[in-house]
């Protein structure tokens, strides 16, 4: 069961941040781990003129709570509010049962940048685990907070944090009879700073990221039929990549960013093709009268996993790109589709129909074991965080399309509904260098 403190703190964070009107995705934590580590993130000291709109301790607490592995101590329970090492009394934190303590402060620099320093303590051992300093323009304070979360997470769990990542998703707003507005949006992984990349009266789907995080590819019906577009996120510059008769769909980048895999039906039925991004040259990969679709690269770049109904119903297959050898991977259930491989190359997540209900499932490829991860229904489009700990997917809640996240072991769950419409088709970004561009960090 989730820690009530984590939930209360999360709620407090949303309220304290004012749930900004433009942050349309508001995360609701459903479940954390029973053995979540208690951590106290004390409100950071704020020097003169430091903007108060992005509250660092709140962002860090929410990041850590959302991972399900931490239970932040509620602010109102804190006995003292140190901002510097010499102000810390470990007794105050042992009393609360907190294993870790984070304190820090933010100061304006003469350059106009903000400098943030923080310290992470092991409460029981009464020692400093980390002490770091970050600098950024005021617009980058959120980015600094997420980098601090990444650092704390990695120092304690040993796993690289994914809090500085972003999400792509499609928002569908029903404006009236047969009048739907579609938007491709990008937001921080915590739902903040949502912005529109493309807006259209025609459907948009299948968004995914380039490995550098600089481009998005997606399918748009703006020309009256599905076509594949690539868009540079920073500038908004768009290129149409394919517009063949029939389907142009399901684009995904290779791990080295040099190729795309995609689906075209120009040769008679949906087949999988590789496209060289620089030359646009196409290489056909499948030759089968069945539907072959939803391809993605394995992390080593050597194979494709894809959906095919060549056996009668949709199942997941893997093809070695060099020699074309294809093997079926899924054997449980009569509908398995839209697979994505985890970064470890040994696990697959996919949409799995069980008793007529569509869930997200995880398959251990080395042991052929299938685990259903979700209790929601009508699940689709799983996308894995770059550190492999969580995945995000689309589902329905009381008739509304929402996004939801679940940890790879199923123990952590949260939901991301939007007040603005139905959200769908999420894509979790790769690790990104900071969005602000000038955040620098150092440990000492």
């Amino acid at each position: 069961m989730k820690s009530p403190l984590a939930g209360a703190l999360a709620l407090c964070v949303l309220v304290c941040l004012g749930v900004p009107a433009e942050a349309q995705i508001a995360i609701q934590i459903d479940r954390g781990r029973d053995d979540a580590k208690k951590i106290a993130v004390v409100p950071f000291g704020r020097g003169v003129n430091v903007p108060s709109s992005d509250e660092i301790a709140g962002i860090v607490s929410f990041d850590l709570a959302r991972s399900g592995q931490f239970a932040p101590i509620a602010r109102e329970n804190m006995l003292s509010l140190p901002t510097r090492g010499q102000e810390v009394f470990f007794r105050d934190w042992k009393i609360l049962g907190s294993e870790y303590l984070v304190i820090g402060s933010a100061q304006m620099m003469p350059s106009g940048n903000v400098e943030v320093t923080y310290e992470l303590f092991d409460v029981l051992a009464e020692r400093v685990m980390a002490r770091e300093r970050y600098t950024a323009p005021p617009s980058g304070i959120r980015d600094i907070a997420h980098l601090i979360s990444d650092s704390i997470y990695e120092k304690i769990t040993g796993i690289r944090g994914a809090f500085s990542t972003k999400l792509l998703y499609v928002l569908a707003r029903n404006l009236g009879t047969k009048n739907v507005e579609f938007r491709l949006e990008m937001a921080d992984a915590d739902g903040a700073r949502a912005r529109t990349l493309v807006e259209s009266k025609e459907p948009i789907l299948s968004a995914s990221w380039s490995p550098s995080g600089k481009h998005a590819v997606y399918v748009s019906f703006e020309r009256g039929k599905p076509a594949i577009f690539m868009q540079e996120i920073a500038s908004g510059t768009r290129t149409m990549l394919t517009d063949f008769p029939g389907l142009n769909s399901a684009p995904a980048f290779s791990p080295d960013g040099r190729r795309l895999v995609l689906v075209l039906s120009k040769d008679g039925n949906p087949e999988i093709y590789l496209m060289d991004v620089a030359t646009r040259a196409l290489t056909r990969m499948t030759r089968h009268h069945a539907i072959d679709t939803e391809p993605s690269f394995t992390p080593d770049g050597q194979s494709l996993v894809f959906t095919s109904d060549r056996g009668g119903k949709p199942q997941i297959y893997r093809m070695n790109i060099a020699n074309g050898l294809t093997e079926r991977l899924t054997f449980e259930g009569d509908y398995n589709a839209r697979a994505r491989m985890l970064p470890d190359g040994k696990h697959l997540v996919f949409v799995h129909r069980q008793n007529g209900v569509f869930h997200i499932a995880l398959q251990d490829l080395t042991r052929d074991r299938v685990l259903v991860l979700t209790e929601t229904a009508l699940d689709e489009s799983p996308s894995v965080a770059p550190n492999g700990t969580m995945l995000i997917y689309a589902t329905q809640d009381r008739g509304r399309g929402i996004l939801a996240a679940v940890s790879i072991d199923g123990s952590v769950k949260y939901r991301l509904p939007s007040s603005a419409g139905d959200v769908r088709e999420p894509a979790w970004s790769p690790y990104l260098n900071t969005a602000a561009g000038t955040v620098s960090g150092s440990s000492r």
Binding site: P203, P226, T293, A337, L378
Partner: protein
């Protein structure tokens, strides 16, 4: 095999009534006795061509939207055909209705039709794009096998992206699993 018209989509009802009313009025003129709830039983005053062939008067066979009419009854041809879950097979009733479209298209080689394929919301989006195309292709294959030139037909799949009923019930899903013929 029972010969029946395909099921009428509810939203076609008003248009059908309007078309019938227009035809009935045109045929009976100021007599004003045309029934409005059933096709006219007596043959119209103009001669009716009973075998399909190149038409010199296309307006007689189309409504104002360019949709073909049944030459005998004057009713618009059914343009929406439904499918079972996970299937892309046209029902016998649909094939009968499509044959009338084939006749119209054979008779007017310059006419073009778009076939839209659609799915209900269940299942994955991209697989549904492909399944929708399969449904559109089923209609195209039948039309071509009935002698329509392939160049007159374009298939576009919308997958699950354009439902007619946004609901989440079996009846909504049944309405969405369809192929639609769109005449420009």
């Amino acid at each position: 095999m029972t010969m029946q018209w395909g099921r009428v989509a509810p939203r076609d009802g008003v248009r059908r009534l309007l078309a019938m009313t227009v035809v009935a009025f045109a045929l009976y003129g100021c007599k004003g006795a045309g029934t409005q709830e059933a096709p006219p039983a007596a043959p119209p005053e103009e001669a009716v061509v009973t075998t399909p062939g190149p038409s010199t008067d296309v307006q007689r066979y189309e409504d104002e939207f360019g949709n073909p009419l049944n030459p005998t009854t004057g009713m618009p041809l059914e343009r929406v055909f439904y499918f079972e879950y996970d299937r892309a097979v046209l029902t016998p009733e649909s094939l009968v209705a499509l044959e009338a479209h084939a006749a119209h298209l054979r008779g007017s080689p310059e006419k073009r039709v778009m076939v839209e394929g659609h799915c209900d919301e269940r299942g994955t989006r991209e697989y549904n794009l492909a399944l929708g195309e399969r449904r559109g292709d089923a209609a195209r294959t039948f039309l071509v096998s009935s002698g329509v030139s392939r160049s007159q037909i374009e298939v576009v799949s919308y997958g699950e992206e354009r439902p007619v009923d946004p609901g989440h019930s079996e009846s909504a899903w049944a309405q969405n699993r369809r192929a639609e013929l769109i005449y420009r």
